[in-house]
Amino acid sequence: MTKDLSRRAFLARSAVLGCSAAASPLWTPVSFAAAPWDTRLVVIILRGGMDGLDVVQPRGAPEYAALRGALAGQGGVDLDGFFGLHPALSPLMPLWARGELGFVHAVSTPYRDKRSHFDGQDLLEAGTGDLAGARDGWLNRMLQLVPGVEAQTAFALGHGEMKVLAGAAPVADWSPEAELTMSPQAVRLAELVMQDDPLFHPALAEALMLSGGAAMEGGNGAMAPPRAGGGGMVPVAEFAAEQLRGDARLVSFSVNGWDTHRNQSRTLRPALGQLAETVTTLHDGLGPEVWGKTAILAMTEFGRTVRVNGTGGTDHGTGGVMMLAGGALRGGQVHGRWPGLDEAALYDRRDLMPTGDVRAAAAWVLRGVAGLDRAGLEGRVFPGLDMGDDPRLLR
């Protein structure tokens, strides 16, 4: 709460100017200064615990078929002779073939043992070693280190909270269909009734700014009830692509639906389908030039149990998979150190043993994308992290 407050408090200070500018027809996005870096970064949080072993399947492991039971026989595409890709991600195979889709296997956050979604997600987004004292998100701390970040450099999209972007650096929270258009008098009066509230006033200023200052002529006869927008992730991905073609450099949003406790051969497909659709929509929307300098990272709070449970699904686990896509990344391979599925190699004799920290992979990408140094990444963005050797995730 305080983290969002402080961020919007920052906006509130500039709102005295920014807001009237936003409401003015003279306001256009072009008036923003050049962006602080050139590579486009998209961070997708996969909420619910994606089963990495079902997404990037270790078909070459001798224990694989026995441990995964019915999940082992779903077909799909061979990636490199050892790993295979879940069939629901096959729309992304052209990207793999061009080296623009990759994975990091057997990674996790430092979160262990209690296997709570909610603490797991909080830690993933905080980017810290534990949750004590976690106040802001690692993407926001990254923005705090880069000079020249503007109000629309970074976007948190959708209707859910994105703690990964919360913090003191300015971030635009938005959803594509949220445009607010009111008469100039209603705008002034809304500002008046909200002026003393430290939460409402900056949120209003930001809503008006992001609506592009499209003031309505006359009364509100045309105002329609708000709606949430359908079409799954496509509108969000299209909006993200539109922003990233312009001055935005960082977009983050969630893709949900990974908590496949039962009947996983059926229940995992819709979430993977959404993820594939999100990436293809970004690819198409960005166009070849911007796609060529885009890095998409998709990460989840934990992997799932190595064994299929008693109901055709998997329970909360530890090590999982991070997905990489975009022309800026070195795809066409499964990165990471594979721990094996031998009983003794498992974590707690039930989960995939994490051999890498998901934060280290993200840190190396940030280093290349925004030119941050190792000291800043290990000291500020991911405090206490040892980035280890360069996994060379970027081209």
């Binding site: 607010l180 009111m182 409402f200 509100n220 009830p225 708000p226 449970n309 008693g310």
Partner: protein, 460 residues
């Protein structure tokens, strides 16, 4: 700060109403929790029996359709589609009925508690028919147990068919059970419900339990499933043989019985970690995102002293001075905002009862979704966020403003005089800028919208 009836109705109830006087005292607020559930009787949901019969027909139609071909398949598909529309209509009607309960009640605290506990024990439907059944679950498991012992509420919610389905208990089977041995390796344990009972429903994530307790509780839960008529059933043949140890206590044994599950839940219900967890959660929900530690401790102590008597815990909350702190209270979640707005606007019940489904969808369900709350479909079993900042985002506030300006005139034949509406909605404590805005707006719809969008109405 001490009791004031307007403050009490805004903070602990469904907001001010021009037709219903607020409870005059703390005693009256608590007394409103006793006696028959008038709102559930006046604005009922469909019956479980009716739901389950139609669900069975729907499943049968889909089965036949898969076997059929040609014109017969089309005909069956149409019939199944019509039934699906019926379930969707039930869901929307349930939303409308819940708004009306808020709008018409004499005991706003009771409605608030019903929503609080429905969220604490979140269930989400996984299919079209099931999505319409969440309201049935709330009326059966939650509402009758709002002010008795927490243990009774816990047992009712956790063992209700809706929860057994949502958190996969329905299909969990003891790995060494008679059933699993007959079936070979194809059936076994699912630890989803056991984990969430410990983490969310009772002890809290920082509570004194580990993976072994999750596993043991999951084994203890085996046998608990759903029967043919959609009601709870205990099948000893599905249960893991032998005893289980949860938090150091032994449960179960042979033969496996439902009573052992209930005993474990009752023990978890009165654990000190549960007392702290529930006290804090209530204080966060009703009073502040960062509640006074003295308030939480007072409530937790009452919880422990009374063995989880919820009415006594509520009394402990209401009698504590920190519950009445002045200053900005919590932001209303989207449903609460819209329902309390309908109450302040005195929307006629017939307007919502006779509204077409598409209207309920357009005027209520889609708007609260745009505000960040997809009715009865939170993304996880932890339910909706409590933090004010989770709701007052630019996109969320945009949707609140748009609803406030666009929807009231669609719900009322005549909008109220905005200057009088300030007093109706906010009481005597209305801030001067809101009074000014109500006078200065260019249209009546904008004026009413500004009153409803003002933090003075959005907060408690």
């Amino acid at each position: 700060m001490s009791f004031s009836s307007d403050h009490a109705e805004i903070r602990f109830g469904c907001g001010l109403s021009p037709q219903v006087a607020p409870a005059p005292s703390l005693e009256a607020m608590l007394a409103g929790l006793d006696g028959p559930d008038r709102m559930a009787a006046r604005f009922p949901m469909v019956s479980h029996r009716d739901y389950w019969q139609r669900r069975a027909q729907w499943l049968e139609l889909r089965k036949q359709r898969r076997k059929a071909s040609g014109a017969r398949a089309d005909e069956l598909a149409d019939q199944a589609m019509n039934m699906s529309r019926g379930f969707r209509a039930d869901l929307l009607r349930g939303l409308g009925q819940t708004v009306l309960r808020w709008s018409e009640t004499q005991s706003g605290f009771r409605e608030r508690l019903a929503l609080f506990w429905a969220d604490h024990f979140t269930t989400v439907g996984k299919s079209g028919p099931q999505r319409s059944a969440v309201s049935i679950y709330v009326d059966a498991a939650i509402r009758p147990n709002l002010s008795g012992r927490f243990g009774d509420l816990l047992v009712a919610a956790v063992t209700h068919p809706m929860m057994l389905t949502y958190l996969d208990q329905r299909v969990s089977v003891g790995p060494q059970s008679a059933f699993a041995r007959r079936k070979g390796k194809s059936r076994g344990l699912n630890e989803n419900l056991a984990r969430e009972v410990l983490e969310l429903h009772t002890l809290g994530v920082d509570g004194p339990y580990g993976q072994a307790d999750v596993r043991q509780l999951a084994e203890l839960f085996t046998g608990l499933t759903i029967g043919r008529t959609g009601t709870r059933e205990f099948r000893p043949g599905w249960a893991e043989p032998g005893e289980e140890v949860v938090l150091g206590r032994r449960y179960g044994g042979n033969p496996a019985r439902l009573e052992a599950v209930q005993q474990a839940l009752h023990d978890l219900a009165v654990h000190p970690a549960t007392a702290d967890h529930i006290a804090r959660k209530l204080a966060v929900h009703f009073v502040s995102d960062a509640p006074d530690p003295g308030l939480v401790a007072h409530m937790a102590a009452r919880f422990l002293a009374t063995g989880g008597d919820l009415r006594a815990v509520y009394a402990a909350m209401l009698e504590h001075p920190a519950a009445w702190d002045d200053g900005p209270g919590n932001v209303k979640p989207p449903f609460d905002f819209i329902a309390s707005a309908c109450r302040a606007l005195a929307v006629a019940p017939e307007r919502i009862e006779t509204a077409k489904e598409s209207q309920v969808n357009r005027l209520i369900l889609q708007p609260i979704r745009a505000m960040g709350q997809f009715w009865q479909r939170p993304t996880g079993p932890d339910g909706w966020p409590e933090a004010d900042a989770a709701w007052i985002t630019p996109q969320g506030l945009s949707a609140r403003l748009r609803w406030a300006m666009a929807v009231p005139r669609r719900l009322l034949a005549d909008l109220p005089d905005p200057r009088a509406f300030v007093d109706t909605a906010l009481g005597a404590a209305a801030p001067e800028p809101v009074r000014f805005a109500a006078r200065a707006a260019e249209t009546r719809a904008e004026a009413v919208g500004l009153v409803l969008a003002a933090p003075a109405f959005q907060r408690r």
